[in-house]
């Protein structure tokens, strides 16, 4: 029985060289209670715009932001919004899968949304982790800091952040564009740092369907077996 030989993992040295001069892709998921400002935050960061009344973006999984990190390093950020539709429940694993960074957002003017940040963190940690088994780096954002009536104190945020393994936190305002770009830069730095430790896939490549050309051979009767499973 012919075994399918998976392609050899790329040479580590070459890979490092390659990474140094090219583009990286990061999937970042943004979660938190309804109405805390997740979509506004993404719009502010990606388009530098703010509107009070976002309709759920229909038909799009994520917003793409391209960041020129340095002269020879471009970063493509996929910002996955829960799009409002899954708001009554925890997310599908499909949403969490392969996330390299996570933002959990709450609304400084809503104590309940702050309390739920822990629930969201637990849900993330139970459904995804980095290749080495470490939790996905998770940043806590206290949004709507432009508003006056606050229901959450800073020391509470600090404690929660420490006790539940967040990588850091800050106050933000998507409306006034406070700390939006800066906190994303912080998250990217952390993701770059973690990314350096990630091993290449030890199991060989997996198949993605419908991406590249498919060997259009027609079965056993008039074909030679293809020797690669990379389609």
């Amino acid at each position: 029985m012919a075994q399918i030989t998976a392609a050899k993992p790329p040479d580590r040295k070459l890979l490092t060289e390659y990474n140094r001069a090219t583009e990286k892709l990061f999937k970042v998921i943004i979660i938190g209670d309804p109405g805390v400002g997740k979509t506004s935050f993404i719009r502010r960061y990606v388009q530098n715009a703010f509107r009070g009344d976002y309709k759920a973006t229909i038909g799009v999984d994520f917003a793409l932001k391209i960041v020129r990190w340095s002269e020879n390093q471009t970063i493509k950020l996929q910002l996955w919004d829960i799009a409002g539709q899954e708001r009554f429940t925890w997310m599908t694993r499909v949403y969490y899968k392969e996330a390299q960074g996570c933002i959990i957002m709450f609304d400084l003017t809503s104590r309940n949304s702050f309390k739920n940040a822990v629930k969201w963190k637990k849900d993330v940690d139970s459904k995804c982790f980095l290749e080495d088994g470490a939790p996905v780096p998770c940043m806590l954002l206290a949004n709507k800091c432009d508003l006056q009536q606050r229901e959450v104190d800073q020391w509470e945020i600090e404690t929660l952040c420490r006790e539940h393994g967040f990588i850091g936190w800050t106050e933000t305002s998507a409306k006034d564009d406070l700390m939006v770009g800066d906190c994303m830069r912080f998250l990217i730095e952390i993701m770059m740092k973690y990314n350096r430790f990630q091993t290449t896939d030890i199991f060989g490549p997996s198949l993605k369907l419908g991406k590249r050309t498919i060997e259009e051979t027609n079965g056993i009767v008039n074909q030679k077996a293809s020797s690669s499973c990379r389609c």
Binding site: A2, I4, P34, V46, N48, A56, I58, G59, V60, D61, F62, A63, L64, I66, R68, A83, Q85, E86, R87, F88, T89, W90, R93, V94, S126, F129, D132, G133, A134, P135, E158, C161, R162, E163, G165, I167, G168, W169, T170, E171, G181, R185, F186, I202, F203, S206, K208, L209, G210, I214, E215, E216, T217, G219, I220, V221, Q223, S226, C229, C231
Partner: protein, 537 residues
Amino acid sequence: MGEDIPSPCDLIVVGTGLIESIVASASSRIGKQVVHLDHRDFYGSSWATFSFNSLQNTLGLVDEFTEHTTQSQKEASDLNISLNSKAICNVIEKWFISDECKTENDDSQECEASRDKTSRITWTKSELLKNSRKFNFDITPKLLYSRGEMVEVLINSGICRYAEFKNVSGIYTFDGAEGCLLPVPCSRADVFNSKEITMVEKRLLMKVLAMCVDYENKSEEFKEYESGSFDNFLNAHKIQGKIRKYLVDSVAMANDSTNFKDAVKNVQKFVRSIGRYGNTPFLWTLYGSGELPQCFCRCSAVFGGIYCLKRNTENIIVGSDGQAIGIVSDNQNLMAKFILIEDCLNPLAKIKPGISRAILITDRSLTKNDQAAIITVPSANGKDPVRILELSASTMACPPGLYVVHLITRQVKTAVEDLREAINAVFCSSEEEALDKPNIIWSLHFNINEYDCPEGKLPPNVYSCPGPDLFIDFDDHVIKARNIFQSMYPGEDFLPKVPDPEDVVLEGPSEDIVQERPLEGIVETSPEDQESGETRQ
């Protein structure tokens, strides 16, 4: 939050199994407002995939499939859809290792050393449970034919982007007389390189395969077999011995009584699927089959579907004209034009014997397989065959060094009784042989119920979706989902391609040059401060 669920909506779906999820995504995709509910706290109903801990919680300690006693006041005409039976039963878990390290001298370094050699790894119960999240146990493990309905739907809709796959690397049939596994040759090259069969048999096998593939064009030649069994056809062509086993057990997925047409359809699918993604016709879903319903749910959510787990449903409200007008869910009326429920909630459903299942963890491969393998233990005494799927760590089913083995057959008695023979035949052996056979470390047996649902008794705008079946692939369910969709929305496109999110450009600048200035105002948690973050393994 309940008041935010839109009512009325176009479609309420109760249950997040495969058919329900496919219909939900197809309906959202054409702009229908879908509300998708499940009383469970996970996606997938009887199609779900679990980590070690969540499996134990779900099936054992905390029973998620448990009965609900919520009874609300209802009109006589209303149909009760609160869960009144368990979809999974006869659950028996067994450990075959102790909780202590089993090395001769209890030196932990010794233990590490034996692990490095990858030959025989000694595992303990606590070690396995510590790796809970690295296990992905399927309730309903299924393969995809590379040219089957599921693959086509995934590609055509673009939903394939949410999932990854591995090619199944080996297909085997169990030879009861010899007590060994026979590799089934798949490609033409396999057939001709096989040392198991003679040249005459090779030619005969290729001839029969070619005939089956060409069946539609030569229906005249087949007329005499059409109404009979596949067995009858093979007898007529003097197909005996190993090649008959290959054909019946693995290629046609048949048994003694399978009719000719069904068997030929399977042969065609098998042959056409070879070579598209690899040497065998089958794909396995990375992280488990339970990913697929979730892929469809995500697609539905992205197109506006409202998702709500842990939400009980009590009744279907039936109007005076016999049409359903909505449901009662957690004492709230939700109105909809169409209602889709899973069979186990169907008030008219009657439980019938379904599927006998076992999940094993073993310490060695039966097949030297480093991806996924399917083994058929053929039927004896008129019983259905037992299908065995062996998954290695590369399928994300378990940590490296271990294998997850799924056994599937038709339920006659209980899972333990129905699968005993096959497990004994394949795994247990006399002392002298035991060295190269896998050890079973842990086993779980259970039964999945099927339901008899009388047709035409529900209101015409209520659909009931069957749960898992015995087939090795998803295609029947994909076809059922498409039929339900087309009967609700005749003439509408079934899951047309979604735009690639990378192609959707939001207005405004999307490229940023990072400014070189220090970051201020972010409170960074130093690693020592992280008290309860999960530890790196």
